[in-house]
């Protein structure tokens, strides 16, 4: 029975109050699936107070979309943990702070490994431009997807990516949910379930400076060139 609860939790809509804090998912000692609602993670289920200098797109904006991202320029990225397989094939984790604290970091997300736009355009673009981006002071370039670490590693090999871009797994979609960028394709026959919308963001010391969020999996301004122009 616990499995079905866990399973339905994985497909629960973003408005659920059960937000899985990163710590509960990656406990070094305990492997129970106990939920802990930390005050930190609860924050993202309530409307954020308006900050005086932040331009925010309200959810009733004139755009055709009814989804608004939780995160915006000027916000600090929520803490979360990603996983990946190292060269020895061991499962390793890294956190948002590891990636962004005291650094200039680009995080870009794709709906799915082994799907065309992601494989043919989005990731290769960042790989090609990685040297130029790093010359402009970017410390970290990471690609995030709601796929498991094994699949991300295989995809990385398939795309022949070396160390230019990190391919990280947001396996349970925790980070994606925390920043409000889920793409729910569960009712579509494509067979992808809940994934991430495509986006590219630049964060300085963990604070979002640029956030280019696409509609679903569209690819209009979340590429490497688009970010390079802004640096």
């Amino acid at each position: 029975m616990a499995a079905s609860i866990t399973f339905s939790r994985l497909l629960t809509s973003p408005t659920t109050t059960h937000s899985l804090s990163a710590a509960a998912l990656f406990p070094p000692k305990s492997l129970s699936s106990k939920l802990s609602l930390s005050p930190f993670s609860l924050k993202f289920n309530h409307p954020k107070p308006l900050k005086p200098c932040t331009l925010r797109t309200p959810s009733y904006s004139t755009k055709s979309t009814t989804i608004s991202a939780t995160i915006a320029v000027g916000d600090k990225l929520p803490e979360a943990t990603f996983s990946y397989l190292d060269d020895a094939g061991e499962v390793k984790t890294t956190t948002v702070s590891d990636l962004t604290k005291g650094k200039k970091a680009i995080l870009f997300a794709v709906p799915g490994a082994f799907t065309p736009t992601c494989s043919q355009k989005h990731v290769p673009g960042f790989v090609e431009k990685s040297a130029e981006l790093k010359a402009k002071g970017v410390d970290t370039i990471a690609c995030i997807s709601v796929n498991d670490a094994f699949v991300m590693k295989a995809w990385k090999k398939d795309l022949k990516v070396n160390e230019e871009v990190l391919l990280l797994s947001d396996g349970n979609g925790t980070f994606t949910k925390a920043i409000g960028c889920e793409l729910d394709l569960s009712d579509k026959p494509v067979g992808l379930g809940v994934r991430s919308r495509r986006y590219a963001l630049l964060a300085e010391d963990g604070v979002v400076k640029v956030f280019n969020l696409e509609e679903g999996g569209a690819f209009t301004f979340s590429g490497a060139d688009d970010l390079l122009k802004l640096l």
């Binding site: 399973f7 000692k29 492997l31 129970s32 082994f114 094994f150 349970n172 026959p189």
Partner: protein, 203 residues
Amino acid sequence: MALLMAKRAAASSSSSAMKSVSAAAAIWMRSYAKVAVGTDIVSAAPNVSLQKARTWDEGVSSKFSTTPLNHIFKDKKVVIFGLPGAYTGVCSNKHVPGYKENIDKFKAKGIDSVICVAVNDPYTMNAWAEKLEANNAIEFYGDFDGSFHKSLDLVVDLSGALLGTRSQRWSAYVVDGKVKALNVEEAPSDVKVSGADTILGQI
């Protein structure tokens, strides 16, 4: 008690990914599946479809069609095996190869299809099948939302190993939708009863 043992096991386990998988599964002590010998697999999972492994382009041209279970099982002799995840160690190195290597023996025994299924999307399954060069011998299907495995009560919670809800490691021999033999591993990291050799002996 099981939880405590599993915690101890987890704490002392090596950093190997599959060990953490078995530790996670140890907490999940399943003792039976909803499916058993004699079950009609299509009735046990009504309205469930699987997605044949394919590239995105093939998906587009087929309008992302899904395959209902009775298309897979009706009037056919099928050997089907499920595993926790594409690209994971035991699945890639031990489970699939056995079936691939023995495909001629399966065909000689009148098996129409040998099918591999996992809770992965069909694009990942396709890329994995190509990598294993097993696409010609074995038919790969994705149970992307786990509905097939959930209906048969063959799921295991591998969130502790960062995989989420996945399939148990299992194999079955199904004739015209009726389960004739069913083998489910105690721990998903083992291939003790769900390998090709075992089920060959059960046909």
